[in-house]
Amino acid sequence: MTASVDRVTLVRDIAQTIVEAVNLRHKNLDDITGETALMGAGLELDSLDMLEVVVAVETRFGVKIADADEGKRVFRTIGTIAEFVEAKDA
């Protein structure tokens, strides 16, 4: 399935937001795709990073996570965040 131009831009935007929020300047933005996981292999974020990332994404995109369970589901990969943001915009 070909990702739309909008989705590509959104993924990039989300990646940029995360990189800035928790200072991942040592990571190459081009290597971050929709498949990239936030925790574990991927961006290797820890619990403190995740709190900051949620706030940064909520602020940047004007979305709000309802509860911890939704947070876990949405903030799994860059792609799942993008889906959430798109759904809120729809």
Binding site: A21, V22, N23, L24, H26, L48, L51
Partner: protein
């Protein structure tokens, strides 16, 4: 009890800046990077790796203002947009630098933060001396303070006589007899006494531009200067009018 300076280092701003690109320091505050820069130089002077002391290592961080930069950042964002940034808050605690350094150096012994305005440095050396009398044989003592640019307008009110603190950190590695034998390399600066003068009638040298923990910088500079150049006592007049006098001697 006499304690000796077996390692000393002053922070380098270029090194502290470069640490921004080090993945291990990606969440580190300016205080942390400056402190780390000073500590790594001080540790380089030791005759053995710090890990040889096991849990008998103390870490005492001295800071007068604490983490002003993230504190200001947190409050500014909270005030402007009502958003509370978790990372900024976590980094705003006075104990941030100590926690980070303890993690980085894998220190499991006594780790504490001292904050007593202009006497932060003297107090930290004093606390280290107490810990070196039973809890530890070696103590990493770091003084660090930064004054964020966003608050620079407040400086004239804080220091009407024109004093302007310079961001920086200084680290000394203090040791008791056991620690000195294990980690020292020959001659060392012995720290005998530290007197504090609370009156505002103190004479003495112009204070160094270093910040509130300047007693540590002064000891570091004396240790680095060597026997020929170190006078004793080391007298510092503080910007608030108080002063301190540290008695040292070179021990071959």
């Amino acid at each position: 009890m006499t304690i000796w300076v077996v390692g000393a280092g002053l922070s380098e701003s270029t090194r502290a800046e470069a640490l921004r690109d080090d993945p291990d320091f990606r969440r580190a505050t300016t205080n942390v990077r400056l402190a780390a820069s000073a500590v790594e130089k001080a540790l380089a002077a030791l005759a053995a790796p710090l890990s040889d002391a096991g849990s008998r290592v103390a870490l005492v961080v001295a800071t007068g203002h604490g983490e002003l930069e993230p504190t200001a950042g947190f409050l500014q964002e909270l005030g402007r947009t009502n958003v509370a940034r978790p990372l900024l808050f976590q980094n705003s605690l006075h104990n941030t630098a100590a926690g980070f350094l303890a993690l980085r150096l894998a220190l499991v012994g006594p780790v504490t933060t001292v904050s007593d305005a202009m006497f932060s440095g003297e107090d930290a050396v004093d606390v280290a001396r107490t810990l070196l009398d039973g809890d530890a044989d070696i103590a990493v003592v770091v003084g660090v303070d930064t004054f964020p640019a966003v608050l620079s307008e407040l400086l004239p009110s804080l220091y009407p006589d024109g004093f302007r603190p310079v961001d920086g950190a200084a680290a000394i590695i203090l040791a008791n007899e056991v620690g000195r034998r294990q980690f020292g390399r020959g001659a060392a600066l012995a720290v005998e006494t530290i007197e504090r003068n609370f009156g505002t009638d103190s004479a003495g040298e112009t204070p160094s531009q270093f910040f509130d923990a300047d007693a540590i910088a002064v000891l570091a500079q004396a240790a680095l200067a060597g026997a020929a150049s170190t006078a004793s006592p080391l007298v510092r007049r503080k910007p608030d009018g108080t002063s301190s006098s540290t008695t040292v001697r070179w021990d071959a």
